[in-house]
Symmetry: C2
Subunit: 349 residues, 2 copies
DNA sequence: CTGAAAGCGCTTACAG
DNA sequence: CTGAAAGCGCTTACAG
């Protein structure tokens, strides 16, 4: 334990304000503000002596600017958010980190705002609506509502949304071309001669439901090639590692087991490979496997996972766009950026 | 695309304020505030007719309360944070979610505040210092500074810190008893007759450095039983899946390979099991493996991973303590909570 | 170069 | 039951 803390007053002191600092330094709060913010009014900066006195007083009092007051006055919170739906992933971690490092010099704070499906769905949006942050990047797979997004943008929130469908309108949209990439994956399996291709679906996917891009793509390609899709070939296990493992084991025990698997998630694909290996089924010879998402774990397994995802790990264009939009304060034209997914061929298919 | 949006004014309208609502409803801003917040002053609530008029006006204008102004006035941000060091884990996700659901009815917002090692380390703390949030749970493995924590608490920030060393002082501390649990793990291996026990270390661990609890525990137990620790038995690969896989393969090819492995992380332990299996080494017969952290993935592999970690998935005590502390506004006595780790015996050792 | 003062948008005793 | 007014802690033209 450090004991460098100066002997405290004992009772819980409330936070010192600029008035306290001003009083101690013998100047006005305006001067305190100028010195501490490093900003300058129409005139020149305070003299070094004044600045020094103020800095010492602030230090002595342990002064830190009050975020709410500054934000209210500046009409800027200097907070940027990354909105996403759990589970958090290496991708969300990476984006948060890149955002943090790239805006650190501007003094902005970066927060993560997970909007969980099991949580009152409105909580994260409400935070955005109330002006809690200046801008946000909304990651793919977050349920978004175009009307809500437009309203947020109209209120002055800087918004960059990763989504395949929504149209830019006061906010920017990033397209990944997921459908095309998934199509390429299934086509790849078909071209390799596979006819019985299983699909590990996410729990919420239904043949005609929204957000079932991968399932529909799978069904489309199968149909386009006249390949049958038994109901038993489609398993809603892509969200659960254990369920995926069990389902693949079960599939492989069937009379006519699939020779290829397309999985809506890399995690389930990895578990599928485990299941195959544990069952003595060779990958990719006896069972080809393709996942979706390009997570790092796919590189660790043997054979490494063929997958569909973003080849790049660089979110700079996204970050820069958010910064530009927040700075522009709504005067920027809405744009569509492309960060296309591709089929990343590795060992498993 | 939805087209239900009313035809907008075209230009970017700024956010409506309570004054706008008051004007439209023909009442004072005080009445607007009372109606919209559901609070009541000394008198009774506004009449239903008034409330109705206000509600309609607010709706028409698309009014949402301004977070900064409310926070400044109430001296409460109604935001709670979970502070942790990436990578985010199922544990951090779970805590965030439990916190969200348990405070949702109080209207509080929950954010995640990842403090990355590669980021200017001060950024997250600065946010806390500025009064951006009312309270925070600081997860284990976050580098904490006792002096800073005390200063934050003194400022009125509600703080619950998961850490083995820091002493409660205006904030609460949660102990996990990691050392004892890790000790039990290594003792378990020794008791099973293992003499060559490898250790997969985290990158920053050094024999005498801080935050090297697991390494020291390993060395202590080995020494206590007179077991030799070759330098080559300790590998700093626990942070990287690929490095762990390669290191274990390499270890197993040695003249005198280890017969047991203690890994500072479950992830590396899982990769170690893969490596062993790929090398034709049976787990646990030829190689016993114990990890740390109790991640879900450990249940998926075969054999399931023996590990050290929290047996419970329930953060309720932690959440309740944070809520109590934030509500108490510093008058609460500081406490130490116990959420002990244990050795969770499964198949791999 | 520095200070007095207004005002950001709320909430909340206090009068009426 | 409702309104006028003060004030939360800052920032920033505006005078001096």
């Amino acid at each position: 334990m450090s004991t460098s803390e100066p002997p405290s007053s004992g009772r819980a002191t409330s936070r010192p304000t600029q008035r306290d600092v001003a009083r101690l330094a013998g100047v006005s709060t305006a001067t305190v503000s100028y010195v501490l913010s490093g900003r300058r009014g129409p005139g020149r900066l305070p003299t070094p002596e004044t600045a020094e006195r103020v800095a010492r007083a602030a230090d002595e009092l342990g002064y830190a600017v009050d975020h709410m007051a500054r934000s209210l006055r500046r009409q800027r919170s200097e907070v940027l958010a990354v909105v996403y739906t759990p589970p958090s992933s290496p991708w969300s971690d990476l984006l948060v980190e890149q955002l943090q490092t790239q805006v650190a010099d501007r003094g902005e704070t970066v927060i993560a705002l997970p909007v969980s499906a099991t949580t009152p769905p409105d909580t994260a949006w409400r935070a955005l609506r109330r002006g809690y942050v200046d801008g946000a990047i909304v990651l793919a797979d977050t349920p978004v509502d175009a009307t809500e997004l437009r309203a947020l943008a109209r209120r002055g929130l800087g918004l960059v949304v990763v989504d395949e469908d929504v149209e830019p309108d006061g906010f920017d949209v990033v397209r990944q071309g997921r459908a095309a990439a998934c199509r390429a994956a299934v086509e790849h399996l078909v071209a390799a001669g596979h006819r019985r291709i299983g699909y590990l679906a996410q729990a919420h996917e239904t043949a005609d439901g929204p957000g079932s891009l991968r399932l529909r793509t799978y069904l489309d390609v199968m149909a386009a090639h006249g390949l049958p899709v038994d109901a038993e070939l489609v398993r809603p296990v892509a969200d659960s590692r254990s369920a995926a493992y069990a389902a693949v084991q079960e599939l492989l025990r069937q009379l006519r087991p699939p020779t290829a698997l397309f999985s809506a998630t890399d995690r389930a694909a990895v578990d599928g490979i485990w299941a195959a290996r544990d069952a003595g089924v060779r990958v990719p010879d006896d069972l080809a496997v393709i996942g979706v998402g390009n997570i790092a774990e796919g590189l660790m397994i043997s054979p490494p996972l063929t997958t569909v995802g973003a080849p790049e790990l660089d979110f700079t264009p996204l970050v820069q766009r958010l910064v530009a939009r927040v700075d522009s304060r709504e005067t920027l034209a809405s744009e569509t950026l492309e960060m296309p997914w591709t089929l990343i061929r590795r060992g498993s298919a």
